[in-house]
């Protein structure tokens, strides 16, 4: 009976009803909670660390976490946090203001190279974090910050007495086991400070087993076999397959704040021939391209209906900042042909030529391995062929693509997406300011190359400096309108958040915002031991 009992115990252990199973598509590069390395590291950080303020992924409203309250001074530059009392780290040490101050001190150390620290930097200086007693912390900003709640949602408050990072944190789970290349097991934090309304401790799960599974087909197969309880992001193809085979398990949480778009290389220093630079610098040409693309087909054909045609850089999912006056660009091939004719382009047979007789032909580069982007490019290729424009689609592995769009500028147009984690307009400063290195169509300008880019710069800086939400909204609405009028970027789609939830998790509420499925994992309770995907 001895060996049999051992085997049964092992099987019972592997089928532990309170162990949630999910997969990440890559192994986190680091588990240091102060270094935002990649999405996998962010997922682990989310589950294992505590923050001062948490943005509710469903309501998008800030909620108190380690800070029970906060007050903004009259000039808007000082925020005073009252910290939660009676909270302890798993090593037994009490959570106090010293931990907060030490965390920010470490975070702002230039040697750490933390991108999270960069979000606290402003042109006018750095943020100062000081303690006033054991449970009061003051953050002094050189200028009134905008959407500061989101800044603090991303900073894990680490223990000041811990000798090294990662150390057990203030999140609902602790890192229990890590097997490189295979999995991480998160164990329940026995001293987690949150409780259920009836006083029962949280989290309700004993553990979360996170496997590293790059292949999405295998991830779905394992979900359907009941080996995984959640899939955080599904491709449209896999979503449709799951929806047919296991109705109710596939969840479309609606549009995300992400945007898929195409942009033109308008950099004067690019090595493109002068006549192609002239095309891309022509507003009429850019608008004509935008009007010739059937966004509804892109959504229906490529995303199987799980995406919304885009009206601009901001998704309707970003309710506070979306400019509701803008509707998605409608498909107007006649209008596009007229614009091109007015700009001197001529259609001879099936070939469109410019004033100098150059046939209009350009390439779209995109990252290899993304079937959705390759299909989008193919749909655009056929749409633009109707105008007499020849498109060459080139897929490049990511480092080569980045090299071309940021350093050599040796490309014509590029199809990529923007993942908008921060819904505040200030989060787009590194994209929209003409001086920004990530300004897609003409990066790192010393002075704005066009009048309308100067206007975007002015409006973006004005909204960032203002504490008046209505004034900020007005400025940012105008930015969205200018982008639409000038079309340096052709906005295509906002993909939906597609995920899968097992029947063992009846309480899961997938959100369009990362992490889509396990943002409230501390409240999860597994319903039974039935196969998850069934």
């Amino acid at each position: 009976m001895g060996p049999l009992a051992c085997v049964l115990a092992l099987v019972a252990g592997s089928l532990n009803a309170s162990e949630l199973h999910l997969a990440l598509h890559s192994e986190p590069k680091t588990l240091d909670p102060l270094v935002f390395a990649d999405e996998s590291a962010e997922a682990i950080r989310y589950l294992t660390e505590g923050v001062l303020i948490r943005i509710n992924r469903l309501t998008q409203q800030p909620e108190p976490e380690l800070a029970v309250s906060w007050k903004v001074s009259s000039n808007g530059r000082r925020i005073t946090f009252q910290l939660r009392k009676g909270v302890h780290y798993p090593d037994g040490s009490a959570f106090t203001s010293k931990d907060v101050v030490e965390t920010f001190h470490t975070l702002f150390d230039p040697a750490l190279h933390s991108p999270v620290a960069d979000t606290f930097q402003t042109e006018k200086g750095t943020v100062s974090i000081t303690a006033q007693g054991d449970f009061t912390v003051v953050a002094d900003f050189p200028a009134p910050p905008t959407a500061f709640e989101r800044l603090f949602d991303q900073v894990a408050i680490v223990s000041c007495v811990a000798k090294q990072r990662p150390a057990p944190g203030l999140g609902p789970f602790l890192i229990g086991e890590r097997v490189a290349g295979s999995h991480i097991v998160l164990k329940r934090n026995p001293v987690y400070w949150k409780h259920q309304p009836d006083g029962q401790p949280l989290p309700r799960l004993d553990a979360i087993r996170i496997e590293f599974q790059q292949n999405r087909d295998l991830e779905l197969a394992r979900f359907q076999r009941g080996e995984l309880d959640l899939i955080d992001t599904l491709t449209p193809d896999l979503y449709d397959r799951l929806a047919k085979e296991a109705p109710g398990r596939a969840v479309d949480a609606g549009p995300t704040t992400d945007t898929e778009f195409l942009w033109f290389n308008m950099a004067p220093q690019s090595p493109l021939p002068a006549y192609k630079k002239a095309w891309f610098q022509s507003q009429a040409f850019r608008r004509a391209i935008s009007e010739s693309i059937q966004r509804a087909d892109l959504s229906r054909v490529v995303y199987r209906g799980h995406a919304s045609p885009s009206a601009g850089l901001v998704s309707p999912a970003n309710k506070p900042w979306f400019n509701a006056k803008l509707a998605p660009e409608s498909f107007q091939p006649g209008e596009a042909a007229k614009r091109l004719a007015d700009a001197g382009f001529k259609l001879q047979g099936n070939v469109l030529s410019d004033v100098a007789g150059h046939a209009v032909e350009f390439s779209i580069i995109t990252n290899s391995g993304s079937k959705t982007r390759e299909r989008m490019a193919a749909v655009i290729q056929q749409d633009l062929a109707k105008l007499g424009i020849k498109i060459n689609i080139v897929t490049l592995e990511f480092p080569s693509l980045i090299e071309r769009i940021t350093r050599t500028l040796d490309y014509e147009t590029c199809l990529l997406g923007l993942v908008n984690i921060d819904i505040d307009p200030s989060g787009l400063m590194n994209v929209l300011l003409s001086s920004a290195g990530n300004h897609p169509w003409n990066p790192s300008q010393k002075t704005p190359a066009t009048v309308w880019e100067a206007e975007i710069d002015r409006l973006m800086l004005a909204q960032a400096a203002s504490g008046d939400t209505a004034a900020r909204k007005k400025s940012f609405d105008r930015v969205q309108e200018i982008l639409r009028e000038q079309a340096p970027m052709v906005f295509l789609l906002h993909p939906n958040s597609l995920s899968a939830v097992s029947s063992r998790l009846p309480g899961a509420k997938p959100s369009p915002f990362f992490p889509h499925t396990f943002w409230d994992a501390e409240h999860f309770a597994l319903a039974g031991k039935s196969a998850a995907g069934k």
């Binding site: 193809d237 580069i365 290899s368 060459n392 689609i393 490049l396 592995e397 080569s400």
Partner: protein, 270 residues
């Protein structure tokens, strides 16, 4: 070898059939490989679309036939290029001997140690962007041919080395035969079976290499089809619900198998 003849005959007939179908795809389908019928996405097989349509509503049969034409035309061309380079390099090493042979062999070893996939990705990333899909594919196969000669060069060198010291070559030299005549009349005819064997080995290897690049999304660009790009449908595809999407894989396996069957085994040795 007599028992293999029916199989070889079948292979030849099958490859001929595939070749004719690829050359004249209109025999099977009136549709173009690039036309997107956006109201007929992922359609199941029908009289009009014997293999259904793909995710963009394109006739899968038309794409398979055009893809076959592309893969079957360019893979032998790349194999020929590879064999020519191998014959030149291996022949030089085998004939010259001494430090020349050692230098060439060291170069071959160095070349064989290169991670060809990364080399191919690097070279492709440096290519101009505005080239047609066919030219791009031609460049890919050309690179495959130029990168794949070292193994064959070693075999050729060994064959030439053995021939160089053979009695009939010694006799020819003693008779005052000029070097060029020695090469053209004695060495090349005798090493030709080795080169043919290398050629037939290389053809399926290059087809699979293009398929590998296609699976990585770095093969032929849209809208031109190839076996590699069509095999990508299997990634994320539902084989149980749509078994016909496996047609490119089945055809690839059948063609590679047939190439192996018609392989001239009796000519391995010299």
């Amino acid at each position: 070898m007599k028992s293999a003849r029916p199989a070889q005959l079948f292979a030849i007939v099958f490859l001929t059939f595939v070749g004719i179908s690829a050359l004249v795809p209109r025999l099977w389908t009136p549709d173009s490989y690039e036309t997107q019928l956006r109201e007929a996405l992922d359609a199941p097989p029908s009289a009009r679309f014997p293999l259904g349509t793909d995710a963009l509503g394109r006739d899968r049969m038309a794409r398979l036939l055009y893809g076959t034409r592309v893969s079957l035309a360019l893979a032998p061309a790349a194999a020929l290029l590879s064999c020519l380079v191998a014959a030149l390099v291996g022949g030089l090493a085998g004939l010259a001997g001494g430090w020349t042979e050692r230098t060439v062999l060291a170069s071959v070893d160095l070349f064989m140690s290169l991670p060809w996939l990364f080399l191919l990705l690097t070279v492709r990333a440096m290519l101009p962007l505005n080239v047609s899909p066919l030219v791009s594919l031609g460049i890919t196969f050309g690179l495959l041919g130029l990168l794949s000669w070292p193994a064959s060069a070693r075999v050729v060198r060994a064959a030439i080395h053995a021939l160089r010291d053979s009695d009939f070559i010694l006799q020819a030299r003693a008779s005052g035969v000029t070097p060029w005549r020695l090469i053209s009349r004695q060495l090349i005819p005798n090493v030709m079976p080795v080169l043919l064997a290398q050629f037939w080995i290389a053809v399926p290897v290059f087809i699979l290499a293009e398929a590998t690049l296609g699976m990585l999304g770095l093969g032929v660009s849209e809208p031109l089809p190839s076996w590699g790009s069509m095999l990508r449908e299997l990634e994320g595809g539902n084989l149980r619900a749509q078994p016909w999407i496996a047609a490119p894989a089945v055809l690839l396996a059948a063609v590679v198998g047939c190439f192996q069957l018609i392989f001239p085994r009796e000519d391995y040795s010299i």
